[in-house]
């Protein structure tokens, strides 16, 4: 695939013709898209269309058989997941992947760990630079994350004891602790009630729009109401292939999308009820 230089420069993340198969199953085939800096980009599609596989390829859990992934101009296809995290790629999971025996605060701190530079020796003396780094880190977690996500009341609670909706929020908090440039969100609304969905949508918008954050978001989500409301652009996958891409309104009008996935336009908002 030829690279458009101009698009390349404003693209934060480029997925270029990736394919991956598991045994005889072609999970995704030749999928390409570009996510621009500062946008909310959603990937939708029926169950098994390859949405989560795509996310897994982006953050390095899977290696695509073919194709490349570019992050801020660097080819990261062969980078290890932790290196991608250091570079500013964070994600949350469809099924919560927190340390359920630890407190909320400890889970968030863990997300920050990759940015702490002090070694074990410096940390045991806790002088000068190490202390400053700790204080900076604490300030960041308290002022930027806990305040933003409104989880002050649970900071010392053990994660496993929290209701599902709050655990989802903690997972987002941990991803933010990485101070990411691109955030991959795998079904952040799944299993939430209406009020929690509204809160979560507001948090995603805050993270995306607030001057402090301006994080590019890649969202995999089934709740069409939310997807259509908050996304800048949407890509539609079906049986591992991209069948459409564009603004929410365009995608909604696309006859192929309607046929393949949505059934008819009426159903588009049906998941909300």
């Amino acid at each position: 695939m030829g690279q458009d230089v101009e698009l390349e420069s404003e693209s934060q993340l480029t997925v270029d013709g990736i394919s991956i198969s598991f045994g005889g199953v072609q999970a995704i085939y030749n999928v390409s898209f570009q996510v621009k800096k500062g946008e909310i980009f959603s990937i939708i599609g029926p169950n098994g269309a390859g949405k989560t596989v795509t996310l897994n390829c982006i953050n390095g859990l899977y290696k695509p058989d073919r194709g490349r992934i570019l992050f801020q101009g660097h080819d990261i296809t062969h980078w290890a997941p932790y290196k991608r995290a250091e570079a500013g790629l964070a994600r949350t999971f469809q099924k919560i992947e927190l340390f359920s025996g630890m407190t909320v605060l400890d889970n968030i701190r863990l997300g920050r760990h990759v940015h702490l530079k002090s070694g074990i020796l410096a940390s045991s003396f806790y002088l000068g630079k190490t202390a400053r780094e700790e204080i900076e880190s604490r300030k960041f977690i308290e002022e930027e994350i806990i305040d933003l996500l409104e989880i002050e009341h649970i900071r010392h609670k053990v994660v496993g004891m929290l209701p599902y909706g709050l655990q989802k929020r903690v997972e987002l908090a941990r991803a933010l602790a990485l101070n990411p440039k691109v955030l991959l969100l795998d079904e952040p609304m799944a299993g939430l009630n209406l009020e929690e969905v509204e809160d979560m949508a507001r948090f995603i918008l805050d993270i995306n729009e607030e001057e402090r954050w301006k994080v590019t978001c890649i969202l995999v989500e089934h709740d069409m109401g939310v997807v259509m409301d908050i996304s800048d652009r949407v890509a539609v996958l079906n049986f591992g292939q991209k069948i459409a891409e564009g603004k929410p309104s365009e995608v909604q009008q696309n006859p192929e999308v309607i046929r393949a996935y949505l059934g008819d336009v009426e159903d588009l908002y049906a998941t909300r009820r």
Binding site: E142, I146, D147, E150, E152, H153, E209, E210
Partner: protein, 647 residues
């Protein structure tokens, strides 16, 4: 009198709250902490000098925007320093503060902002700003909507909006142009000027605005502290709505006179935790807060290990025996005293610490009836809980228990400079320097409430042989039982609420053949109980209708019945499919039952309770805070309460 005569200030008709505020700022400056707010997990101090700087710039900023003497400034938001800054700033400019409950619905906000002629609405953040923007069309007198929390405000550019920071910048500019203006404005104030316009929650009609003067408020604080002095190094936690007079009485009336430190919790959800961190010396809360504490203890007790449970039970028994000695004013024996000491050391100390009551000197409850069982509980664990009685119209309270003279069925004796009488119709009336001026734009209501300087409360009661006031109930709520006896439904409801499983109770039976009750179960406690018993449920309506839950609720009802005369005993009850809620207008914002309203709304239920029906069907709706209305259909079972031998 047990007060420090030296510390008491002289209250003249010249003195105002802002003048006193300036005096305190000069006295303490940056040497003493006026407030603390927990922010980002850290208690952040605000000295008197900071307090002054904030109030001064805010006051001048509002003046620059057009605030004049006598103008109203409406305020809404959680308890936070900026709330008090705004209130004090308005008063310094000769303005009048109007507080709204944080969770007020749009119509309530609109009614009060419009009725009070407010020129400014000071909100906390996006939520309050949205409310303000939604009502501005219907409130033409509103000039500006101010806000202080920038979160979520990035997309707002309506010219009616302005941040408090911007207002303060305008204030600093005005200060440069006209130095000394702030001090001049403060000096113009007089004690008889109105400082607060306080909308009473009203169990029957639209809210009425009570006009309170500086003199009213100052005298309130002084007379309260003549009974129970506070000290400059005390800590007070401000977490109950500023729109409730009790909070103003502590934070403003009393707080400014002694200069104790006011602490603001991080978030409403963290209040209980933050209270524990502060350990205040004094506390004033409506009964529901204390009821919640008791419920917490009861639930933790159920969860505890066998040994801890037994220890707790023994300690409580000892505590109750000791409390009974206190109530009966007879000395406790040496044996009981040593047992009690051991109980304090083993159990109560820890318990009080968890409730945030470890340093408490005086805990007050008022605003609604509190059951005797709750009362005994707190004295048993060694908390000096005292009943107080009063109204917004008297700037807070008029009657209070004295230390060592606490009777749990009374509300105590009048404050200094306060007279309390009972009329021939058994109505409680009072007179004091704190009695308000009247209702704003409502001369009829004023005439009904204020006669020859006496404040008519609308409460029925009597004065007992020890000179204590006993409040029976709101006059209009008093029930006539089947045998013609008068009865207070509030009393019975408060007794029922001692059960940790009962959140709200509504007793019916006025001029009816027998008594019945509508119960709202406590979702958290009953839910936990159901989980332990392996009873599946998905929602409040479903849980409330489980036969097992009915069996659970009938027990405390039978227990209360045992102590009542036969005609007052509850014969039937049902569990309501939802919790009573202020958003549905079933409760006032201070969580008092709006009896006439619920009787009308649930008239099908009331009817069914007086037929042979075993279920009742309801078609109704639930209103959410954002204005959405969701229809609900529910079937509720009616259960007959087994009756035991009569008394």
């Amino acid at each position: 009198m047990p007060h420090d005569a030296e510390a008491e200030i002289e209250i003249t008709k010249e003195l105002t709250l802002p003048k006193l505020f300036l005096r305190m700022c000069q006295k303490y400056g940056s040497k003493k902490v006026a407030m603390r707010e927990k922010e980002y997990g850290i208690w952040r101090p605000i000295t008197w000098a900071d307090y002054l700087e904030n109030v001064k710039t805010l006051c001048l900023g509002m003046v620059a925007l057009g605030l004049q003497r006598g103008d109203k400034v409406a305020m809404i938001g959680d308890n936070r320093p900026e709330g008090l800054f705004a209130e004090m700033a308005a008063m310094c400019a000769g303005g009048v503060g109007v507080w709204l409950f944080q969770d007020s619905l749009l119509e309530e906000v609109q009614y009060i902002v419009d009725h009070s002629d407010a020129k400014f609405l000071v909100g906390e953040g996006q939520e309050e700003v949205d409310k303000g923007l939604a009502i501005r069309e219907r409130c033409p007198k509103l000039l500006k909507i101010l806000w202080d929390d920038p979160k979520g405000m990035r997309g707002y550019d309506d010219p009616i909006l302005m941040s408090l920071k911007e207002v303060q910048r305008l204030g600093r500019e005005l200060e440069k142009q006209k130095p000394g203006l702030f001090e001049e404005l403060v000096a113009q104030g007089k004690g008889d000027d109105v400082c607060l316009l306080f909308y009473t929650s009203g169990t029957t009609a639209l809210p009425k605005g009570a006009l309170l003067t500086h003199y009213n408020m100052l005298k309130m604080g002084q007379n309260l502290m003549r009974v129970d002095p506070c000290y400059p190094h005390d800590d007070f936690v401000s977490y109950l709505p500023f729109a409730w007079i009790g909070e103003q009485m502590m934070s403003i009336s009393a707080g400014l006179q002694v200069g104790f430190t006011i602490n603001f919790p991080e978030e409403p959800e963290t209040a209980q935790e933050n209270i524990r961190e502060i350990g205040p010396q004094t506390m004033f809360a409506p009964p529901r807060i204390y009821e919640q504490m008791v419920r917490t203890v009861q639930v933790k007790h159920l969860d505890a290990s066998w040994l801890k449970r037994k220890l707790h039970e023994w300690a409580m028994k000892t505590g109750y025996a000791w409390a009974d000695c206190l109530f009966e004013k007879r000395p406790a024996g040496l044996f009981l005293r040593s047992k009690r000491l051991l109980a304090e050391w083993l159990v109560f100390k820890k318990l009080k610490d968890h409730l945030g009551l470890s340093r408490i000197r005086h805990a007050y409850t008022g605003g609604a009836a509190m059951g005797p069982d709750h009362f005994r509980f707190f004295h048993a664990i060694g908390v000096n809980l005292k009943q107080i009685y009063g109204q917004t119209e008297i700037a807070g309270i008029s009657v209070l228990h004295r230390d060592g003279d606490v009777k749990f069925d009374t509300v105590g004796k009048p404050l200094p400079e306060t007279e309390v009488k009972v009329t021939e119709e058994d109505e409680i009336i009072s007179r004091s320097p704190s009695v308000f001026l009247g209702y704003y734009k409502n001369p009829e209501a004023t005439a009904k409430t204020l006669k020859d300087g006496w404040l008519y409360s609308g409460d029925t009661g009597f004065i007992d042989e020890d000179g204590h006031l006993v409040v029976f109930d709101r006059s209009k709520d008093i029930m006539i039982l089947s045998d013609g006896r008068k009865f207070s439904p509030q009393f019975l409801e408060a007794r029922l609420k001692f059960s940790p499983y009962i959140r709200e109770a509504w007793v019916i039976g006025h001029q009816l053949p027998y008594m019945t009750a509508v119960i709202c179960i406590d979702y958290a406690t009953v839910g936990k109980w159901a989980e332990q018993k392996g009873i599946p449920y998905t929602s409040y309506p479903e849980l409330s209708q489980k036969p097992e839950v009915y069996d659970l609720i009938v027990k405390p009802i039978m227990e209360v019945n045992r102590t009542l005369p036969v005609p007052a005993r509850i014969q039937k009850f049902l569990n309501l499919y939802k919790e009573l809620d202020a958003d549905d207008e079933e409760l006032t914002r201070t969580r008092k039952l709006r009896r006439a309203f619920v009787e009308e709304r649930y008239k099908d239920i009331v009817q069914a309770l007086y037929t042979d029906a075993e279920t009742v069907h309801m078609d109704t709706s639930i209103k959410y805070e954002d204005g959405r209305v969701v229809p609900i259909k529910a079937d509720m079972r009616i259960l007959r309460v087994p009756q035991e031998g009569g008394r």
